[in-house]
Symmetry: C2
Subunit: 362 residues, 2 copies
Amino acid sequence: MQRVAPEPQDFDRVLSSMCTEPHPAAREAAVRFLATNPGDPGTYQEIAALEERAVEGLGDIAGLSEPEGYVASGGTEANIQAVRAARNLARDAGGVPTKTDAPTVVAPESVHFSFQKAADVLDVELRTVPVDDDYRADLGAVEAAVDDDTVLVVGVAGTTEYGRVDPIPELAAIAHDHGALLHVDAAWGGFCLPFTDHAWNFAHAAVDTMTIDPHKMGQAVVPAGGLLARDRSTLDALAVDTPYLESTSQATLTGTRSGAGVASAAAALDELWPDGYREQFETSMADAEWLADALEDRGFDVVDPELPLVAARLPDDLFSNLRDAGWRVSRTASGELRVVCMPHVTRETLQAFVADVDALRA
Amino acid sequence: MQRVAPEPQDFDRVLSSMCTEPHPAAREAAVRFLATNPGDPGTYQEIAALEERAVEGLGDIAGLSEPEGYVASGGTEANIQAVRAARNLARDAGGVPTKTDAPTVVAPESVHFSFQKAADVLDVELRTVPVDDDYRADLGAVEAAVDDDTVLVVGVAGTTEYGRVDPIPELAAIAHDHGALLHVDAAWGGFCLPFTDHAWNFAHAAVDTMTIDPHKMGQAVVPAGGLLARDRSTLDALAVDTPYLESTSQATLTGTRSGAGVASAAAALDELWPDGYREQFETSMADAEWLADALEDRGFDVVDPELPLVAARLPDDLFSNLRDAGWRVSRTASGELRVVCMPHVTRETLQAFVADVDALRA
């Protein structure tokens, strides 16, 4: 094989990603801890201490003063683990045999595809229900889908396609009325929502578990997802014994884990919470509104941004032309262009993008 | 929160880890790709190309000229995915209903605890069977445990506790006689075994899937595990749709993934396969034999090393004294000291360790 001599990632025209150029402090911390494994805390004690700090920081953001949880490989792992914990707790409680035999998860159809993955992996049924006219979970539809087999209800706080926030307190009430847990997927939205009026976190509602990812709007390096739980028992439901390690059990889905991700999450939280994240949110939100206005002015149908994410219906040939011009853009399931205003997406980038929209229209 | 200003990991006295100080070329590649996501290959095309090179390199080592697979977060993910693929393929084949209702995995009791995790996550039964007097899978016991419900038989090529290699060709024959697949866990051993006479890989036996981790003896940074499969259908059995990404399906367990791990795996393989890995194996093996002899000379019971891993029975108080002196050491389930001769463990380190054994004996 030949030597690897590639160029580093160029984010100039990346409008489709929910990851971003990490903050310099996060990058520096990642480089220092590249060779550590928080999955073996007995051997790698420094990184284990940093993970505790990162989880505390995530708890501050999510309204939980004594958070349980860990820095996961990403939102997919955190979502899978939330489903797994709910399934295992229902099984171990044993009170309702049907929950053991046919556990189901109820979620709006706007839920991330990682819940499809979780359903396959964990052998549970994912029951998705329609959203309302503004792309939020329809409470009547959720209520109708929940039954005695339901172990978990999922609400999304910042959907992947439209950046919408489901009615979390109401979803929690429905879940708990039926003996199920309530999980909030704030993987992307969690670092924006503290600066809005939404009721989305552990302090606002009877939330049991949450996904909140430092490596998205939190500006940490990949891989740094976050799983938070209100109760220790949730983590205990995930633990397996670890015979040859100096620690005695492990609640994570993966075994060896990235110290770089953990250290960078701790560093980013130290550096940016709350003022840096507030400033970034305000900048990104203003940029998203600017882009939405610019596309609307040009006659395209635009979904009004609630968080820094713009969806707009562009003709297929224009979408193709933009891709050919080097723009990394993606589409919603129903075909709209989707632009995620991450920290690396500046106003200048969006101005260049809109100029190309003008130049490349048929 | 205060600023993060920790010292980087010091590997000087770490004898317990299966991770190591990465090769400089691997570290450099990781730093360059810290901000990429191979889980979104449409957006991050450069890292997707590097992943193909890494998988090809792993195939070269494992005797597979057209390998299917990917760079996983680690051995745990790769092992979970191998079990998941076997379970899903049996379910989708549908020919043997019992395999769907009560899928079981048969493995020697020397198997890594990630298979316990896989059993819990995937809701399959893990049936572990005794090993022989030399810590290898007992073929009679495996044969007796396999039945119509068995979807997978696991063999270990380099066990976590004693570095032993199970009789892979014979295990493959037993598995296939019962319509099950054969998985080889070479997470740690895979980068040593090419330089031995063992029959362990896809060219030696009818192996279906394998775990082989660049971030262990491969000297890549964490997280870089490896999952290999002989057939494309194995990966297809893991795929879920990805509505908003530019790619259309995803076979990995995690979603967003570490470009650093992928790039460093490709770089390490470029740099070290085969001569660098051979040299490292020979050095590590000579060091392991030196340590085994030194401990045996001092009257301790030593398990003769077959790969660069030494297990020896030390008195409890000596073990505690060594830990108090700053040595990071761990024990097997039956209590032996376990020293993994990773690349960062030099002869000088082992000499210092043995000097402390002498000094700290009661």
